[in-house]
Amino acid sequence: MPNQSDLVQRSVSGGEVLPMERFMRFAHRNARFIFPAPAVIAVALIIVYPVIYTGWMSLQEWFASSLTLPKFIAFANYKQILTGDPRFRDAFFRTLYFTLIAVSAETALGVAMALLFNREFWGRGLVRTLSILPMMATPTAISLVFVMMYHPTLGVMNYLVSLTGLSPFKWTYSSKTALYAIALVDVWEWTPLIMLIALAGLAALPKEPYESALIDGASNLQCFWYITLPLLRPTLIVAILFRSIDALKTFDIIFVMTQGGPSNSSETINILLFNQAFSYFNMGYASSMAVALFAIVMGACLILMKVRRVG
């Protein structure tokens, strides 16, 4: 087919192929490469290049504040992280712990809410609409509101606690509770995501297993445990996967509310790494932590994918 049109074109232009024509033909033939080209260039520039640079920088010792050039030290940074830096070790376990409590609470609450809301009722649309607001609202602004609500003496949270008869907490102002107070904000923000994903999963479940279970005289709880949960599992794992990836990388709410304090009690890897890079300008060391954080997130992904396949 191209030959025919080529012939016509060539006869019109007197046997010669004009550069413009040649370009058009090239563009036509390679459309599948030209369409994504700008995005590929953008991704290479703003994603691939920085990632490679970070990997390279993690093998150097370099303070961006000094005038000396980076010094190649191979894997010394990694050795330091793994064996010689208790602060990183604490941050590592804190990050995992934070992710574990936040995502577990979100999953339990989100599934409970999805089961509750999985029916037709007046106001269902409003519930859905309200649910997406915490996920989209600017995290900095939300953290700020929680800072005010968590205030030990003037905050509304302690007032609410006092109504129940408990003694007040110091929330983000005490090293004992800071991490939990931050996790609570994360739970407030992201439980709706798990709920909405679980709702979508519930809507897609088949009816037949429930009908036969009903005939066999199964209770509601048995239906949930033996039918709903196993069928919902793949959907839930997707939800948990997305939440875990983001929870491991949590930055905004911690940085705004506590900046890792008091006395490092809420310092996750991300916060420690940020301070290493932009307070101490210890770029090489910070880069190796960035690579470590990436490895942790990747590890979590792989584990969850495996769990999904086994089920």
């Binding site: 989209m136 600017t138 995290p139």
Partner: protein, 276 residues
């Protein structure tokens, strides 16, 4: 009232009671933010706090604009988020089209990697690069870096929209003498306009909300709203009216935009893995 009807009533009341209990925290935080912004200082920091009865003042809002160049910050956020979104759509739409039509799964997965890689690992090289180019505190640096948040979302959500277009339409366009470029621009793009609006708004919100990249790469002239609000915390201490007013002002546009595209939010947040 019969026994059965009574039980039905109790069930309904109990159900709505649970709905209210579960939705209360969500509503309360927003309610508290807005009411704090309207309370005079004495009542905002008063204890016990007043939930419903308080005097209304706009002093907090006046203070925000009087004490800070808040209009400049808003303008900065607007420029960066719009720039990031427009650039993201220009670059992302053809890419999503191409992935959808030529099944370029590897490319799609590469772009998904951007969702997994911690943002901070881009930030160190960018900081060094933009510092050397004297580009820290410029719109260009912010727009380019915010693209990391916006572009993957645009591409992934748009793949779904382009895949929904029947293949026959594209073939018909090609037979009628359209080039691939014509088929994209005259046939495909007009059909996915709702998707373009939805992903555009998603990308705008994510850029508007971004804190991590801006806190390092924005300076005196390009400071965006989240950074401005973060800086206010130190200065204002417990002068809560202006703080709450600033929080409300940042969140309001996001909420309005979210309401417009609420059907697409879950798809956007899960990269199309779940169609809400």
């Amino acid at each position: 009232m019969s026994h059965k009807a009574f039980r039905q009533l109790v069930k309904t009341v109990g159900f709505y009671g649970l709905v209210i209990i579960f939705m209360l925290p969500t509503v309360f935080v927003f309610y508290w933010m807005i009411t704090l912004s309207l309370k005079p200082q004495v009542e905002a920091a008063g204890y016990p706090p007043s939930f419903f009865r308080f005097s209304v003042t706009f002093k907090g809002y006046v203070d925000v604009f009087a004490k800070n160049p808040f209009l400049l910050y808003t303008w900065n956020s607007l420029v960066v988020a719009t720039g990031c979104t427009v650039l993201g759509l220009i670059v992302g739409l053809p890419c999503a089209y191409s992935i959808a039509h030529w099944r370029q799964q590897k490319l799609a997965l590469t772009i998904l990697a951007a969702r997994i890689i911690p943002g901070i690992s881009y930030l160190i090289p960018w900081y060094i690069l933009f510092r050397n180019l004297k580009m820290v505190d410029t719109y260009q640096a912010l727009i380019l870096t915010h693209l990391v948040v916006g572009l993957p979302i645009i591409i992934w959500v748009m793949i779904g929209f382009f895949e929904d277009i029947p293949v026959e339409l594209r073939e018909a366009a090609l037979i009628d003498g359209c080039t691939d470029y014509g088929a994209f621009w005259r046939v495909a793009v007009p059909l996915v306009k709702p998707g373009v609006v939805a992903t555009g708004i998603l990308s705008f919100i994510f850029s508007w909300n971004n804190f991590l990249f801006s806190v390092i790469l924005a300076g005196r002239n390009t400071r965006t709203l989240p950074i401005a609000v973060f800086n206010m915390i130190g200065y204002e201490e417990i002068n809560w009216g202006p703080l709450a007013a600033a929080a409300t002002l940042i969140t309001l546009p996001v909420i309005i935009l979210t309401l417009i595209i609420q059907r697409h939010i879950v798809a956007g947040l899960t990269f199309g893995a779940v169609k809400g």
